[in-house]
């Protein structure tokens, strides 16, 4: 009887170990299949931030990282048309600063921009223990990071050269939204001496991003996109303090004169700017970036002819706004 029980126990242990090993094997296979280079398609919302990996090597002059505040406010194609420098908005909705760090690391493996802008709203997003754990798991099994690309999985692309990233985003990470939903608190930047602390270990991730930029010889700049819901003066004060501590520049677009009309230029009561607001933000920000960092004008450079071709596509996408 005793022997029987122990045999059944051994059987269960072997089955459990095999189950785990088989599971790990499947995750490995899935991770092999789910990497950005396996995909080519018109980019969709979920994969927009990965588009930065598809840009040809060392072709970006500036990269903007952050959450939805970034992709709704900065339009790289507009800035190209007005100033001629190349940029990309690598951002996703509710992005955690730990993920931003991961994106900065991956981007710097392929690009050497003159400047990296870190939109500051993500710095305030409170992380739980899941975010760093998932970030670690993503390093071991990339399928956890890239699984959302399943819609674009192309079996034919599996054997392609791994370095050949083959899809790009026509809006360069910008999200076109033409909904008009007025803000209820346009006077949100009331001066105060209060300082809003950054939660948890988020500052460690900002310091890591700073170090990554420093190691690559790229200038890091903090930038706050306009938002009547997410931003206030106490956060502004904290970012001023943080920029001084890190020795980096900081520009708060909430206190600059952009000419925003919060009755018209926001899509969700001031949470984000819409296309109309983004046009004003990008005009101001493009001027600032081009002048402050002497970003080159490449409009006549034949190597960048693809960027000139984007105008037509951009106009197609934004045509709907003309009826509003």
């Amino acid at each position: 009887m005793k022997e029987k029980i122990s045999r059944s126990t051994i059987k269960k242990i072997i089955a459990s170990v095999l189950f785990v090993v088989f599971g790990i094997g499947l995750l490995g296979i899935a991770s092999f299949c789910f990497t950005p280079e396996r995909f080519h398609t018109d980019s969709v919302k979920d994969v927009k931030p990965y588009g930065v990996l598809a840009e040809p090597e060392n072709t970006l002059d500036a990269v903007i990282f952050g959450d939805s505040e970034a992709f709704s406010a900065f339009s790289p194609v507009q800035m190209w048309q007005e100033h001629g420098f190349t940029s990309y908005v690598c951002s996703s909705a509710s992005q955690y600063i730990s993920l931003t760090e991961s994106f900065v690391r991956q981007t710097l493996e392929h690009q050497k921009p003159k400047v990296i802008f870190l939109e500051t709203n993500a710095i305030y997003r409170k992380m739980n223990t899941d975010n760093p754990t998932l970030a670690e798991a993503e390093k071991i099994f990339p399928v956890f990071q890239y699984h959302n690309l399943w819609k674009n999985l192309d079996p034919a692309g599996i054997n392609e050269n791994e370095d050949d990233y083959c899809w790009q985003d026509d809006l360069k990470g910008f999200k076109y939204i033409d909904i008009i939903n007025p803000s209820r608190n346009p006077d949100y930047m009331k001066k105060t001496k209060a300082v809003k602390k950054v939660p948890g270990s988020n500052l460690t991730h900002v310091t890591n991003i700073y170090n990554l930029c420093k190691e690559s010889g790229v200038e890091l700049v903090l930038v706050s996109a306009p938002s009547t819901i997410n931003w206030n003066y106490a956060k502004h004060n904290m970012m001023v303090k943080l920029s001084k501590q890190l020795g980096v520049k900081y520009i708060d677009l909430n206190v600059e004169k952009l000419g925003l009309n919060w009755n018209h230029d926001t899509c969700d009561r001031g949470d984000h700017v819409n296309y109309f607001g983004a046009t004003k933000v990008s005009k101001f920000f493009g001027d600032y970036a081009a002048k402050t960092f002497s970003l080159p004008d490449r409009r006549k450079d034949s190597a960048y002819s693809d960027w000139n071709a984007l105008k037509e596509k951009y106009d197609d996408v934004t045509a709907r706004s003309k009826t509003k």
Partner: protein, 533 residues
């Protein structure tokens, strides 16, 4: 830990507790569960665990008082000289017990009301004051509450009530009562357990069995599949429709789709979390009561509420409906009504009044807002109408010789119930009652299927691939539900299959979660909808 479906719970907290639980001797096991439960509450609520301590201690002491008082009453009775004196002694002790029990129940329900509803009441008070032209406003109070306060308060009330009614004995073991009040898988989203079903089983837990472990893990995986693949994926489109409907000029078809998708999201989120809860309990050999029994197979709203959030429904039935119906004024009302309305309709006024109380409480329990009160009222009206119409419809069907058990009619009643439920959930998820009515107006006056055919439904946060994935999981959930309806346990059925089939099913489920799960970049996981109750 903000949710049971999180890495910190599933890959850290639960495995650590399971490992510690399995290595300690039997006597220590309940203390491991109690310690883990207290750590869980502390992690979620920090200092506000004090509310939980107050509730647990207050019902513990009150139950002991009731028991002691009953004992004293028994001892005093033999000294009584006649029946009248016996009656007087009984009444005297009963009054004391009722006083203490009422005081403790009012204190706990009052605490819940202050913490959860004071903002709602103050905001409404301010509106009334403003309408009356007065020039002052009361500042909105802000209170932090302990996690699961609405769940453990109801458990505490049921325990004390049952002790008072003599259904169960007062627990002298504070540890056992504390574990019943705090067991970590149920504290956040229920189900609402009864002391008589759960406490003893929890305290006398055995070592982890391989079968319990595998069955528990399967149930957890199924719950994650429902929540991460369907509920979180639907959230993008549901949020888009409910937040932006007035700015995007959506037609009634889109609003209806939004209501249907929100109902699916709510079911997949809540039942998925309950799967994780029940699976967690199974790992420790504890059977946690089911909270859902295929609600979308219901043929009426009454049946729906017997299958949806079952433990809340039975709690209201036992501790609100029956006490109200059996109260003296209601008995009197029934007696008078019987004389005038006859035997069939006589008990109805009292029942309808008691139902009104139940649905007011049900609405308020779901949230502090007029939309939630309306949600309760909506179901109250539907159920009351159903009760009123039933004798009439039965007579008519009999007269017409119409067989209500035929499949087409059954399908019709199931679809009709589902549509009524979806409309109720539309109000539930609206941003205020007036927004709910605006959406309802669009739904009725601008209803068209145009958006379904011109591709508009693929531009609101979900494309055709999303729909395919969601439909596939819904089909799986439907198949599992159908098996359960036929009395087949899907997990027992799977356990009897060859190991290759078992593993194929399990790995398909796991890989579906990994690949098709709506997590990571571009997705915001929905907060557990019932966790803040």
């Amino acid at each position: 830990m903000g949710s049971y479906i999180s890495i910190s719970y599933l890959l850290l907290f639960l495995p650590i507790v399971a490992i510690v639980f399995s290595v300690v001797p039997k006597k220590i096991k309940p203390f491991v569960l109690l310690a883990a439960s207290l750590v869980f509450i502390w992690t979620c609520s920090r200092f506000w665990i004090i509310y939980w301590i107050f509730t647990t201690l207050s019902v513990y002491l009150a139950a002991l008082f009731v028991e002691k008082s009953k004992q004293k009453c028994k001892e005093a009775l033999p000294s009584a000289e006649d029946r009248e004196q016996k009656k007087a002694i009984k009444k005297q002790f009963a009054r004391k017990q009722l006083c203490v029990v009422s005081l403790i129940i009012i204190a706990n329900i009052g605490l819940l009301a202050v913490l959860r509803y004071s903002q709602f009441f103050v905001a409404n008070f301010n509106i009334i004051v403003q309408k009356l032209g007065a020039d002052f406003q009361v500042a909105l109070p802000k209170f932090a509450a302990c996690i699961g306060i609405s769940f453990y308060t109801l458990q505490a009330v049921s325990y004390l009530h049952d002790v008072y009614k003599g259904k169960i004995a007062a627990d002298h073991n504070l540890g056992r009562l504390a574990l019943y009040m705090s067991f970590f898988p149920i504290i956040m989203e229920g189900p609402i357990c009864r002391y008589s079903d759960t406490a003893e089983r929890l305290w006398n837990c055995e070592r982890i069995q391989f079968k319990d472990f595998t069955f528990g893990m399967q149930r957890i995986a199924f719950g994650i599949l429902k929540k991460v693949v369907v509920a979180d994926r639907l959230n993008v489109m549901v949020t888009s429709i409910f937040r932006e409907y007035q700015y995007c000029d959506y037609d009634g078809g889109i609003i209806f789709l939004g209501a249907v998708l929100y109902t699916i999201e709510l079911y997949m989120e809540f039942s998925g979390t309950i799967d994780v809860v029940i699976g967690s309990g199974e790992i420790f050999g504890v059977t946690i009561p089911e909270n859902f029994r295929q609600p979308f197979f219901s043929k009426s709203i009454t049946e729906f509420w017997q299958r949806w959030h079952i433990t809340l429904g039975t709690w209201f039935k036992d501790y609100v409906f029956y006490p109200v119906t059996m109260s003296k004024p209601m008995k009197k009302l029934t007696k008078n009504a019987r004389k005038k309305l006859g035997r069939n309709y006589g008990p109805m006024p009292a029942s309808i009044f008691a139902f009104g109380c139940v649905w007011l409480c049900n609405g308020l329990w779901h949230g502090a807002g007029w939309e939630f009160i309306f949600f309760g009222f909506y179901h109250f009206v539907l159920i009351s109408l159903g009760s009123l119409i039933l004798p009439l419809s039965t007579a008519l069907f009999k007269k017409w010789n119409f067989d209500r058990h035929k499949l087409p009619y059954r399908i019709f009643t199931i679809v009709r119930t589902a549509i009524l439920v979806c409309i109720g959930e539309m109000f539930f998820n609206s941003r205020g009652l007036s927004e709910g009515f605006k959406m309802f107006k669009v739904l009725v006056t601008k209803f068209t299927f145009k958006s379904f055919f011109n591709g508009a439904i693929f531009t609101m946060g979900m494309d055709r691939f999303d729909y395919i994935v969601i439909l596939a999981v819904i089909a799986l959930v439907f198949a599992v539900g159908l098996m359960k309806e036929k009395g087949i346990s899907p997990r027992e059925w799977l356990a009897e299959r060859h190991i290759c089939v078992r593993w194929a099913v399990l790995f398909t489920m796991i890989m579906a979660i990994v690949i098709f799960g709506a997590y990571g970049t571009g997705y915001i996981p929905i907060d557990p909808i019932y966790a803040n109750f």
